[in-house]
Assembly symmetry: C2
Homo-oligomer: 193 residues x 2
Amino acid sequence: MTETHELLTAAVRRLIDATIRTEVEADAIAAATDKIEAATAHLSDALIPGSFGVQATPDGRPIALGNVVIGQRNPVAPPLTINHSPDGTVHTDFVLGAAYEGPPGHVHGGVCALILDHVLGATAHQPGKPAVTGTLTLRYVRGTRLGQHLRAQAQVSRIEGTKTFAAGSITDADGVTVEAEGIFIHPRGTPQS
Amino acid sequence: MTETHELLTAAVRRLIDATIRTEVEADAIAAATDKIEAATAHLSDALIPGSFGVQATPDGRPIALGNVVIGQRNPVAPPLTINHSPDGTVHTDFVLGAAYEGPPGHVHGGVCALILDHVLGATAHQPGKPAVTGTLTLRYVRGTRLGQHLRAQAQVSRIEGTKTFAAGSITDADGVTVEAEGIFIHPRGTPQS
């Protein structure tokens, strides 16, 4: 991931926010659209077929830059940085803006599910041996507000063969907003999450 | 939602895809970034504070243009169009591209959760009386591929007081990929999903 590409992705994230929130007149919207289409044309001179997938870095590590949760190339991703502690717990700190809205002023419940799926799954991931979601159960305690400092965390409850049982939550300054538990599997076949 | 703004949002969706998939050199990326920043500056001359929320259309209907699943102004939203049948079932047809990737070539399991949360919740929504998610349980049957025609559908299982019990699934041409059930609540207080 080059710094130039990071600046591009950050610029697209700001554009997404402005696209939702703008109140300018139609002629200004049309002028902005022209510039965006010119930028897309530049970038489309050479495209990876399909999707980014997982590629190797210059030093050989697998990296998922297109991932919708953690992908540093994906403007849809916040992107989350997943921190692994020596005791096996996982956490990530983040703030979500207008692009993740469900009820007015609040994070969409399904975005909470998306983040918890990824963070709980991260407890089971091992280098070169990703885990996929088997089941995931979410309990919504109260609304999660946009624009607030949030933390998602998870830990392994137990491991049975290829299955990792994990639990976690999203918290804000006042405590838990969403709780989750799930079963994550190291598959032999097609990956899933 | 004006046609001009629809064209803007569609252009930003194409830009998101190109940002993930581009293989052009650094100078072309930098040139594209400059154009994007100029577009964002245009749009930011007047911004709604915070997030879009729910606003009234000229004829008085409430509309959530910024919603991360259905919002026609939100470039992160596919956006889904939710179809309500007279028998109470709900469905939506869609294709997801590179921006929604989890495992290589596959929809992120958490994106399936996001969509199912919204579609199951839609069975309980009533005009001016939105429902929020209480609990949601997902069972991943197999991977959901990017670039394929998908359908999400849901129906009410039963209603108990303020609680709607709903069930649904995502299917591709070969059948079910993810199943879900959930409880959705018409709240008195803060909304949630």
